[in-house]
C-alpha cells in the first residue's frame, strides 16, 4: 500500500501538481438477508484500489484504479494531472486549502468482537430466530431481517507530509414485518430498531447482539397486523412527539444536509440543490430553532456511524457546535471550502470508496439531549400524536419544506397514549419546525442512530452517518396531508 501511494504521489508532484494526496483502500463487506423464513442471500465482497487527487494551476483533478501496480500508479497520476488541466479550461477561482500540520498515526475502531470472526451459521441463526418470531404472529405476510458488516483499511498520504492509516469497522442489522390486505389495497410495515436499511454503528458484533432482534420480533409483527385495522391519522394542526429514530432522520435531512458548506456554496446545485443556511446567516444571530435546540457535529462519539480518526483529507476527527441554544453557528467544512469563509476545515470530508472523490459528509450530527423522559413527555401532552419510525421522506432543494411519513402513530389524549393510527404524515418548514420544539428527551433516551445509506454527489456516493437523538416534542405541526 505504502509504496504504491508514495510512487503515485511522487510522480504527480514531478508532473507539476502543487498539491497531491493518495488514498489506497480495501473494503470488505459481508451481508445476510433473510426473507419470509428463508435465507434470501449471503454475500461477501471485497473492493480495493487507489486514487490520486491533485491540484494543478489551481484546479482539481482526480483519477482512480483497481489495478494496484507500479505502472498503474504512474498512469493514474498522469491521468489526474490531465484531468486537472482539463478542469482549468472552465476555471473558477484557484483552489486554496486551509492549513493542516502533517498528520501521522493509526486509528482502529474500538470493539469487542470482530464480526468477521463470528461463525456464519451463528449470524444466520440470529436472523432466522428473529424472522420466526415475527412470523409467529397470525396475519404477518412478509418478513425481512438483515445484517451487514464491513472492514475498511485505508492509507492516506499527502504531499504536505501526512501519512495516516485507519482500520474502520461498521456493523448493522434490522428486522421488519408487513401485513397486507389486498381488498383495501393496504400494506402496513413495522421495523426494529430502524427502517430503510438498518441500525448501524462503528463497532463490533456486540452492537448487533445488543439489539435482541428475536425478542422484538413478535411485537413488530403484532404492530404491523394491528396497523391494518387502525384508523387513518387525521389531518390538522397539533402537537407531535417524534420517537428517537424519526427525530434522527429529521436532524439528518433538515440540519445535516443544509449545513454542508459545499451545498451552501452551490456545488451541489446541479443535483440535489442548495441550502437555506446561506453564509450571511453565520453571524451569530440567525435563529434555527428554539432555545433548547443544540446541535453538534462530532466524529469522536464512540460507536457512532460517522466516527473515525481522520477524515479523507487527513484532518483529525473533531466536535463542532452547529446550533447553540437555537442559534446557528457552524458548518461542515472541507479544506477547500473553509478558506472561503476565512475558516479552517473541521474534518468532515469522506469518500465512500477508493474510486470516489472525497467530499463534505455528515459525521455524527446530533440533537443534544434535553431533560425529559419519554413517559413524562407523553404525560405532559394534553392533545397530540406520537409518531414512530420513518416510512417516507422528502425535502425541497433548499432543505426548507419537508414531509415525512411514519410507520406507526398513537393519539395522545390527556397525557396518555390512545388509539393506534396508520399512515401518519407531518409537514413543515425547517426553522419554524425546530422553533416549535419545546421538549427533548434526556441522556437516557438518547441513542446514536446510524444512517448507512446517505446519498450525495455525482457519481453518487452512499455514506454512513450518525445522529444522536432522543424523542422530541414539537407544537403546532401540520399533520395528515394528501388524498388517501
Amino acid at each position: 500500500m505504502r509504496d504504491l501511494a508514495n510512487r503515485a504521489l511522487n510522480i504527480a508532484q514531478q508532473l507539476g501538481a502543487s498539491y497531491v494526496d493518495v488514498r489506497v483502500m480495501e473494503r470488505t463487506t459481508e451481508g445476510i438477508d433473510v426473507k419470509n423464513g428463508r435465507v434470501e442471500g449471503i454475500s461477501s465482497g471485497t473492493s480495493s484500489g487507489f486514487n490520486v487527487r491533485v491540484i494543478v494551476d489551481g484546479a482539481w483533478g482526480f483519477a482512480s484504479s483497481a489495478n494496484m501496480d507500479d505502472a498503474e500508479a504512474e498512469q493514474v497520476a498522469k491521468q489526474a494531472i490531465q484531468i486537472a488541466r482539463a478542469s482549468a479550461l472552465v476555471a473558477g477561482e484557484p483552489v486554496i486549502l486551509s492549513p493542516l500540520a502533517p498528520q501521522h498515526g493509526f486509528y482502529r475502531t474500538p470493539m469487542q468482537k470482530d464480526p468477521f470472526t463470528i461463525p456464519l451459521n451463528q449470524k444466520v441463526q440470529l436472523l432466522l430466530d428473529a424472522d420466526a418470531a415475527m412470523r409467529s404472529v397470525q396475519g404477518v405476510a412478509l418478513t425481512n431481517s438483515n445484517m451487514e458488516y464491513s472492514r475498511e483499511h485505508k492509507l492516506f498520504v499527502s504531499s504536505e507530509g501526512s501519512e495516516v492509516e485507519q482500520e474502520l469497522f461498521d456493523v448493522g442489522a434490522a428486522i421488519d414485518a408487513s401485513a397486507v390486505d389486498p381488498t383495501s389495497s393496504e400494506i402496513q410495515t413495522r421495523s426494529y430498531p430502524n427502517s430503510f436499511g438498518r441500525q448501524a454503528g462503528t463497532s463490533g458484533y456486540e452492537f448487533i447482539e445488543a439489539m435482541d432482534l428475536a425478542d422484538h420480533g413478535a411485537r413488530v409483527g403484532e404492530e404491523a397486523v394491528k396497523l391494518l385495522a387502525a384508523p387513518q391519522c387525521p389531518s390538522g394542526v397539533t402537537t407531535i412527539i417524534l420517537d428517537g429514530p424519526q427525530t434522527a432522520l429529521q436532524v439528518h435531512e433538515s440540519c445535516g444536509h443544509p449545513i454542508e458548506l459545499d451545498r451552501v456554496l452551490g456545488m451541489e446545485a446541479g443535483f440535489v440543490g442548495k441550502s437555506f443556511l446561506t453564509t450571511d446567516k453565520l453571524n451569530g444571530h440567525y435563529r434555527y430553532g428554539s432555545d433548547m435546540v443544540n446541535l453538534t457535529a462530532d466524529a469522536t462519539i464512540p460507536g457512532g456511524l460517522g466516527t473515525f480518526g481522520w477524515d479523507d483529507e487527513g484532518v483529525p476527527a473533531q466536535r463542532t457546535p452547529i446550533v447553540t441554544n437555537g442559534i446557528f453557528n457552524g458548518y461542515l467544512m472541507s479544506r477547500d471550502t473553509a478558506p472561503i469563509l476565512g475558516l479552517t476545515s473541521n474534518g468532515c470530508v469522506r469518500a465512500d470508496s477508493w474510486n470516489r472523490l472525497p467530499m463534505i459528509r455528515m459525521t455524527n450530527v446530533s440533537l443534544e439531549p434535553g431533560t425529559w423522559t419519554l413517559d413524562d413527555l407523553i404525560a405532559d401532552t394534553d392533545d397530540g400524536i406520537y409518531m414512530s419510525t420513518n416510512k417516507s421522506w422528502s425535502i425541497d432543494d433548499r432543505r426548507l419544506n419537508f414531509q415525512f411519513g411514519v410507520e406507526l402513530a398513537y393519539e395522545i389524549k390527556h397525557g396518555k397514549l390512545g388509539r393506534m393510527l396508520k399512515n401518519a404524515t407531518y409537514t413543515g418548514i425547517t426553522p419554524q419546525f425546530w422553533g416549535s420544539c419545546d421538549a427533548i428527551g434526556n441522556r437516557d433516551e438518547w441513542v446514536v442512530w446510524g444512517t448507512p445509506n446517505c446519498g450525495k454527489g455525482e457519481p453518487m456516493q452512499t455514506m454512513r452517518t450518525g445522529h444522536g437523538a432522543a424523542p422530541a416534542r414539537f407544537r403546532n405541526v401540520q399533520i395528515g396531508v394528501g388524498s388517501w
Partner: protein, 446 residues
C-alpha cells in the same frame, strides 16, 4: 485487460473451472468512466475511474452463496470461487430455488458507441463549457455534470451460458439559476455522447431560467397540469419501484395484484420495457445471461404484465423475461428500459389545452408514501408556470404534491410527441403529459 469478448470469455471460463459447486454463475463487469461536474459556472469536480468486479454465485443443491472481488489475479479468482462455495454450504436451503438458467439464443443490442468510449477529459470540459458560457453571457449561474462510461459485461454459468457485450452511456444534466427562485433544467441520456446537442441543452435551461424569475404565489389545491418529460420520467421511475417487478406481485405488495387484464389507467397509456430499442440504453441480456424480452406492462391502459428473472419465473410458472439484477438483491427483477409510447401533441398543444393550470418542468425528491395505493410525494422544481387560456403566463413558486400515481395516469388527457430519455435512478424514455387534475398540498418556500 478484459476489454473484448475473447478475454472476458477466457476469464469467466477460468473462474468456472475453479469452482467445485454443483452449479456456478460468474458475472464480470468492467468499467472505464469519467465525470465532469460544474457549479457556479466553473468545473469544480472532475474524476475518472477504472474498475472491474467479478461476482460468483455458487449453488449446492438448493443452497446458494455469492462472493465478489475486484482483484483478478489467479489467487484472488480461486479464492472468490471458494468463498462463494463456502457460503453456499453454510446457507440454509431455499426450497423455492430450482436452477440457474439454461442457455438461450441472444440477439445483439446496439448499446455501444466508440465515440463515447474515446471521449476525452478535454472534450468533456469543452462540452460543459458550452452550457457555462451561455449562462455567463446571460448573467446566470449554471451547475450540472457530464459523464461518459464504457463497460464490458460478461455472464457465464456452468450450464453453458456465455453472454458478452460492451456498453456505453453518456449523461449530461444542468440546472441554470437566474436568482434564488428562478431556474431551468435540461438532461440528456444516450449511448452516443457525440449525439448530445449541448447548445440546445444550454438554450433550454437558460431560457427557462430567465423566464422563471420572480415567481408568484398560487394557492394550493387541485389543478390541471402539463408534466414535461422530466416530470413524467420521474413518476414512471416511482411506478417501477412500487410494483412492476414479479417479486412485488408475488409478495402481494404491488398495485398490479388482482388487476391484470383490467383497465387500470387511461387507454392513452402504453408502457413497455424493451432492451433492444436504440432510443434507450440497449442491453441484450440480463445479469443471469438471459436474453431480454420486450414486456408490455400497460397496454392501452390495461394492466398486462410485470418483469421476471429465473427465480420468480420458475416460482410462478411464467417465462423468464430477462430482467434479473446481479444476485443477491432486495428488489428482484426490474425493468431497466422502460418506455412510454408517445402521442401526437407538441408541448405547445398540450399547454394550449389547459384553460387554467400548472406547467411542471420536473419533480424534486419524490418518494413513495404508500406503495399499494401508489401515493407519492415530492416537489416541483426548475421551471413551474401558471397556464392561463392555453399559454404560460407567470412563473409560480414551487409546490409540494402528495398524489396517487395511478390516479394521475388515469387522468391523462393527451400525450406529447417528443419523448426523451432521462434518469434519476432508472433510465426511462418518457413524453410530456396533460393531466386533468393534480393535487398540490403545500408551497415549498424554495
Amino acid at each position: 485487460m478484459y476489454s473484448d469478448e475473447k478475454s472476458v470469455h477466457a476469464l469467466l471460463q477460468k473462474v468456472l473451472s475453479y469452482s467445485q459447486a454443483e452449479q456456478t454463475e460468474v458475472v464480470y463487469f468492467g468499467t472505464e468512466s469519467a465525470l465532469t461536474r460544474f457549479a457556479n459556472n466553473f468545473i469544480h469536480q472532475n474524476v475518472a475511474e477504472s474498475n472491474h468486479e467479478l461476482r460468483v454465485r455458487a449453488v449446492v443443491g438448493k443452497r446458494m452463496g455469492v462472493a465478489t472481488t475486484n482483484r483478478l489475479d489467479d489467487q484472488s479468482l480461486q479464492r472468490v470461487a471458494e468463498q462463494a462455495l463456502e457460503i453456499a454450504r453454510l446457507s440454509p436451503e431455499n426450497p423455492e430455488f430450482h436452477s440457474l438458467p439454461e442457455p438461450q439464443p441472444i440477439v445483439p443490442a446496439p448499446g455501444f458507441s466508440e465515440r463515447t468510449a474515446f471521449y476525452s477529459a478535454e472534450a468533456r470540459a469543452r462540452s460543459v463549457g458550452i452550457i457555462v458560457q451561455l449562462a455567463k453571457e446571460r448573467g446566470l449561474e449554471s451547475a450540472g455534470a457530464f459523464s461518459t462510461e464504457t463497460s464490458q459485461v460478461g455472464v457465464a454459468n456452468s450450464l453453458g451460458i456465455f453472454a458478452y457485450e460492451p456498453r456505453t452511456e453518456s449523461e449530461c444534466h444542468a440546472v441554470v439559476m437566474a436568482d434564488a427562485q428562478g431556474s431551468g433544467y435540461t438532461q440528456r441520456l444516450t449511448t452516443d455522447a457525440t449525439s448530445i446537442d449541448f447548445e440546445a441543452m444550454a438554450r433550454e435551461a437558460v431560457e427557462k431560467a430567465q423566464r422563471s424569475r420572480n415567481p408568484i404565489d398560487l394557492p394550493i389545491g387541485e389543478y390541471p397540469v402539463v408534466l414535461d418529460t422530466y416530470a413524467t420520467a420521474d413518476m414512471l421511475q416511482n411506478l417501477i419501484f412500487m410494483g412492476l417487478s414479479a417479486t412485488a406481485v408475488q409478495e402481494e405488495r404491488s398495485f398490479m395484484n388482482g388487476q391484470f387484464g383490467k383497465q387500470l389507467v387511461s387507454p392513452l397509456v402504453t408502457i413497455y420495457d424493451d432492451g433492444h430499442d436504440p432510443v434507450g440504453l440497449p442491453q441484450a441480456f440480463d445479469y443471469e445471461g438471459v436474453p431480454k424480452q420486450r414486456v408490455v406492462m400497460f397496454d392501452r391502459g390495461v394492466a398486462s404484465a410485470v418483469v421476471y428473472d429465473s427465480f420468480t419465473a420458475f416460482r410462478e410458472g411464467k417465462p423468464d423475461t430477462g430482467h434479473a439484477l446481479p444476485a443477491p438483491n432486495p428488489w428482484g427483477p426490474l425493468p431497466l428500459h422502460t418506455m412510454m409510447v408517445a402521442g401526437d401533441a407538441s408541448l405547445e398543444e398540450l399547454i394550449r389545452g389547459v384553460d387554467r393550470g400548472i406547467y411542471v418542468t420536473r419533480f424534486h425528491y419524490t418518494n413513495t408514501v404508500h406503495p399499494v395505493k401508489t401515493l407519492f410525494t415530492g416537489m416541483t422544481r426548475d421551471g413551474t408556470f401558471l397556464i392561463e387560456h392555453g399559454e404560460l403566463t407567470s412563473p409560480v413558486k414551487n409546490f409540494r404534491f402528495t398524489q396517487s400515481l395511478l390516479d394521475t395516469l388515469r387522468d391523462v388527457q393527451a400525450i406529447g410527441s417528443e419523448p426523451i430519455q432521462c434518469r434519476d435512478y432508472l433510465p426511462v424514455v418518457a413524453p410530456a403529459l396533460r393531466i386533468g387534475s393534480f393535487h398540490f398540498t403545500g408551497v415549498t418556500g424554495a
